[in-house]
Symmetry: C2
């Protein structure tokens, strides 16, 4: 991975990242393609309609089905899905923890039962990398030890101990594999845990920052804690993160979360919010969000957001979308997902522009002003 | 409507039809856009990916929601859906009969309860035209009196009596409305009923053929009767149908049904089969149909039909589609619908080509040969 820190405006950064499959500027939002497709969309939608440079796929899902062996046989995620730009894959640990029944965390890894057929599986720091080598993802995430918040100080300490232990195992294994010619074009990110405990976060960050990861992620946030606590945790980590590596805040968040965390030095984001909300009829716009099912939209000839240039806003009215949503028509999901993802990708683009112009503070003020805040 | 009978090969015909919104050649297949969208697709998919010249929308559904008043307010179906080529709308009678609880057929019309909210409604020969004027559909269908097959000779006779009565009411009303400047650019088709009873079909056809309809449809077939009986019924009607008007076989059918009925002089078809089967994972191909969920496709790098030039076959493998289908991923439905509709539209195009080349018999032999028949 080539990484260039191009510009800073306060703590907000514009960086340029080049992987084996694409070059992109940060702040970047990565749409979530759980099973190898962003829900309701395909590779050409992502490239031609949205111009997404990098998307995320979930290791847990793809490992269970179609299996990493099948994905490898198709030339990795790029060959399988035909999205030929960058892929980031998570470790699978989060889904093993949240989707499967009776997952157990040991010092060796995470044991879980498949949500598809109930079969037993074990994710270890090495096994999740082997899976991601098969995927040929551009950015691989290490296995980390998640805790549900709120958690006891004791449990958070165990989580950080294990996460550091697993991080060492992962980076050592990855370097040895690269020496054998495997995963040469792939990058690996460490993940900082520690809940909202300042000392534990700091300990984890300092430790992982010493390891030769290509980037560092902040995990275990946006799990129900107060927004202010999330922002504070990110801000407090800033001094302990190498400035010359990308910083990725996992699973975050609302448009407001993106703006607040970019201001605190985060470069990369992913979240199911734009696509999940699309499927529930909620649209993100420059003036806030609204649900299309309301009766006031039945006769509305306007686009979702008259200021938006997305495929859906260029072509269809709120009235038609209100109708499709109420009729539970499949067409709706693609049109709504295209709009919401366009909103998120445009938000990231506007933030990059503002940072490069040293006007991020003004951008943020205007962002809230348009929302009536 | 401008109608030109361009060429005949046996009873098979190529005709050119020009409506206020598009010109198309027959035999033509009309994708079904029940609620104003072909399921999982939008207006640009229909135009740019499939080049469909005419699609069908269901009056029953659009009348109940968003209501004809809303559709009219958006400039009819074309303005509402943004598909600016031709629309054919049915009368709503078939859905009132099949979808609603306790529908009742009187001499005045069909009374039914909405499947959405249980409200009571009455469709009459005039009211269904008023609704279709609001839709501004290019081809309107008259209300007819359907019977479930098998039916008693007595019930079939009542059906034909009513259908003739309603046809007279409809054509008289339409001409009077056109004299008032309403529905000027719209066309109206009569519908021939009579089950599989030769004498009743003939009586209905002779009667409707005398009325100044822009085209004639054959209704009440493909409702469970033997294929051979359907083909025979269509063939027997041929001598009683004006050669200089389009002939539309409603709700039909399989690829084989299209070929057999084109051979018997039918020009227009509509059916939910390509889109409904797509959603069940069944693909139509030049070598027959198959279901993508079978395990043999997990590692299959081929396109659905290597001979197919559709969007899906140009871009994605059977292996990826197998995976998306098993994961119940929304993306699948659009890709599968695009392929199956492309198959149907291509089948119609190839039949037109064969008829123009006087090689329909050879085309039909080859069509079955590729299917191993």
């Amino acid at each position: 991975m080539e990484f260039k820190l191009k510009h800073k405006d306060g703590m907000a950064r514009v960086c340029e990242i080049t992987t084996a499959h694409s070059t992109f500027l940060t702040p970047v939002f990565m749409p979530v393609g759980t099973v190898g497709a962003v829900k309701s969309l395909d590779a050409n939608d992502m490239k031609n309609e949205l111009d997404a440079k990098i998307i995320l796929a979930n290791t847990y899902h793809m490992y269970l089905r179609p299996t990493s062996k099948v994905v490898k046989d198709f030339g990795g995620l790029h060959g399988f899905t035909k999205f030929d730009r960058s892929f980031l894959t998570d470790s699978g640990g989060f889904q093993a923890f949240s989707l499967s029944k009776n997952s157990k965390h040991f010092n060796e890894g995470i044991e879980f039962k498949s949500h598809i057929d109930g079969s037993h599986h074990l994710f270890t720091p090495k096994s999740v990398l082997d899976t991601q080598y098969d995927f040929n993802s551009d950015i691989m995430m290490i296995l980390d030890d998640l805790v549900a918040l709120p958690a006891t100080k004791e449990r958070v300490k165990i989580s950080v101990d294990r996460t550091i232990l697993w991080a060492k195992e992962a980076i050592t294994y990855h370097k040895s594999m690269q020496n054998k010619g495997i995963g040469i074009g792939q990058n690996i990110f460490g993940i900082i845990q520690g809940g909202t405990d300042y000392e534990e976060r700091k300990r984890c960050a300092l430790s992982l920052n010493e390891m030769p990861f290509d980037g560092l992620a902040i995990g275990g946030l946006s799990v129900g804690e107060e927004n202010a606590l999330m922002y504070e945790t990110v801000q407090n980590l800033n001094p302990y993160l190498d400035e010359n590596r990308p910083r990725y805040l996992m699973g975050v968040g609302t448009p407001e979360d993106l703006v607040e965390n970019v201001e605190r030095g985060v470069d990369m984001f992913d979240c199911v919010m734009p696509t999940r909300n699309a499927r529930n009829g909620t649209f993100f716009t420059s003036f806030g969000k609204f649900n299309i099912k309301k009766a006031e939209f039945i006769n509305d000839h306007e686009a979702i957001d008259p200021a938006c240039s997305c495929y859906t806003c260029r072509n269809f009215s709120r009235g038609y979308l209100n109708h499709l949503f109420k009729a539970k028509e499949l067409t709706f999901f693609r049109l709504a997902s295209l709009h919401n993802l366009h909103y998120y990708l445009e938000l990231a683009r506007k933030m990059r522009e503002a940072i490069l112009n040293n006007s991020f503070t003004q951008f943020k003020r205007n962002f809230y002003h348009l929302r009536g805040k």
